[in-house]
Amino acid sequence: MNSTTATKEFPLLKVTVSDRARAAPVTEPKIALEALTVRYGRRVAVDAVTMPVYRNLITAIIGPSGCGKSSLLRALNRMNDTIAGVQTSGRVLLDGQDIYTPECDVIALRRRVGMVFQQPNPFPKSIYDNVAFGLRINGLVHSRAELDERVERALRQAALWDEVKDRLDRSALQLSGGEQQRLCIARALAVEPEVLLMDEPASALDPISTAKIEELMFALKQQYTIVIVTHNMQQAARVSDFTAFLLSGVLVEFSSTPQLFTNPADPRTEAYITGRFG
């Protein structure tokens, strides 16, 4: 991993001083958005956004309601395709391959780029079957033992295993809101995606559950590339490495999170994060 930090070595003192405290590490882009535009009929929701999404880091997208954050997020695994009247132009490169070409296998794409929604939406099935669902329909496992193992691994990754291991056959709907959301994360992780898209994953949760989800994201970025949409600026500040500020569909600023929240480049970003917007 490279770093944007400038450091000075003082070998005699055995100390290295860095000019940035929590400097954003820079990795290769996992996803590259190139002039991505999303239209609902004549209305432009996302306006020619160009930005990278770095591998194994958390990228937050912030902005006021209706600024196009969720539309942008859904464009990253073509979830907008399911909405009538949506037109997408520009390019979204996943590992260098445009996901909007006709040859792109959308089912395979969504397996590689998983999604967690605002409201926990477990299926009315058992905890086990929720996590096993994607593995079964995609035919990704060949034995019960393998299925058990993958379900356990996903639940452990989602920091839920210890809480549910003795009641895997109970209905997922009996879990608390926070547990349901972690179950949905486990369900998304079970098919071993490369990218995890999270649309306001904690907005329906209490502070303790929110903290758990945030710590979970921090642990998950070792393995996954995460993009989170949040209207909660503090959450973006706490968890992300890079932040994109969107306004009326336009990308106003994309910076490392410490940079954006301590010294934003654009006065509109400054106005928004200091609550002086409007």
């Binding site: 000075k8 003082f10 100390v15 001083v17 940035r20 929590r22 710590e215 500040a237 301590t262």
Partner: protein, 221 residues
């Protein structure tokens, strides 16, 4: 589960302790340069000043980011605020060490005014105050912090004594005015180092107990 900011806070504390050890070392070398007439030690202190200054800026940046990125509350908030103040105190201690090293360079061009007796006592006391204030910070030890506060008066008395004695020498023999005056500056700088250590000890009170004991009589501490 370890909270995200706890890791950053632990790192911030580590950096402050590093900075503390840098200035402790600078003070120790600067006074040795005076007592042993060692020009090399004095030069070393001057050359290492940049590291302390750079470290101060790095710590300030970390504090700024902690305040911007996390909604700190209660003990965490007090810790970060206090670290910001301690950072400034440590940098000033580093400056005093540089002043002493510069005095050392000027003093060693002259014959020794007198045997050093009270000045080493004063430097030992000031160094112990810096060391203990940082130990109190590490261990969040209010009793150790209180002991630092109590030593400050002793340090002031030693300074007054050294001033009086050196003034007598200067009045008796104008040839020693220059080196004696430099020694008075050294004593003044050591007294200031004690004041900064006192500030750090007061911040330990603030971190641990949430009590602001600055500007209070010692018996109320």
């Amino acid at each position: 589960m370890e909270r995200h900011f706890e890791r950053d806070l632990a790192e911030l504390q580590q950096r402050v302790l590093w900075m503390g050890s840098l200035v402790e070392r600078a003070v120790h070398q600067a006074v040795r340069a005076v007592f042993e007439g060692d020009e090399n030690l004095a030069r070393q202190v001057l050359s290492e000043e940049t590291a302390v200054n750079e470290m101060q800026m790095e710590i300030d940046e970390r504090v700024l980011q902690m305040l911007a990125l996390y909604q700190l509350m209660a003990a965490d908030l007090r810790m970060v605020l206090a670290i910001s103040r301690i950072n400034a105190d440590l940098e000033r201690i580093g400056d005093q060490a540089v002043n002493i090293a510069e005095s050392a360079q000027r003093i060693l061009r002259h014959p020794r005014v007198k045997p050093y007796v009270d000045l080493p006592r004063m430097s030992e006391l000031a160094e112990s105050m810096v060391r203990d204030s940082l130990n109190a910070l590490i261990h969040k030890d209010v009793e150790m912090a209180r002991a630092v506060l109590q030593r400050d008066d002793q340090l002031d008395r030693l300074r007054d004594q050294i001033f009086r004695e050196l003034l007598t020498y200067m009045m008796e023999n104008s040839a020693v005015v220059f080196p004696a005056f430099e020694l008075i500056l050294v004593a003044k700088n050591l007294e200031r180092i004690g004041d900064h250590a006192t500030n750090i000890a007061e911040d330990v009170f603030y971190i641990v107990a949430g009590r602001d004991v600055r500007h209070q009589a010692l018996d109320r501490r």
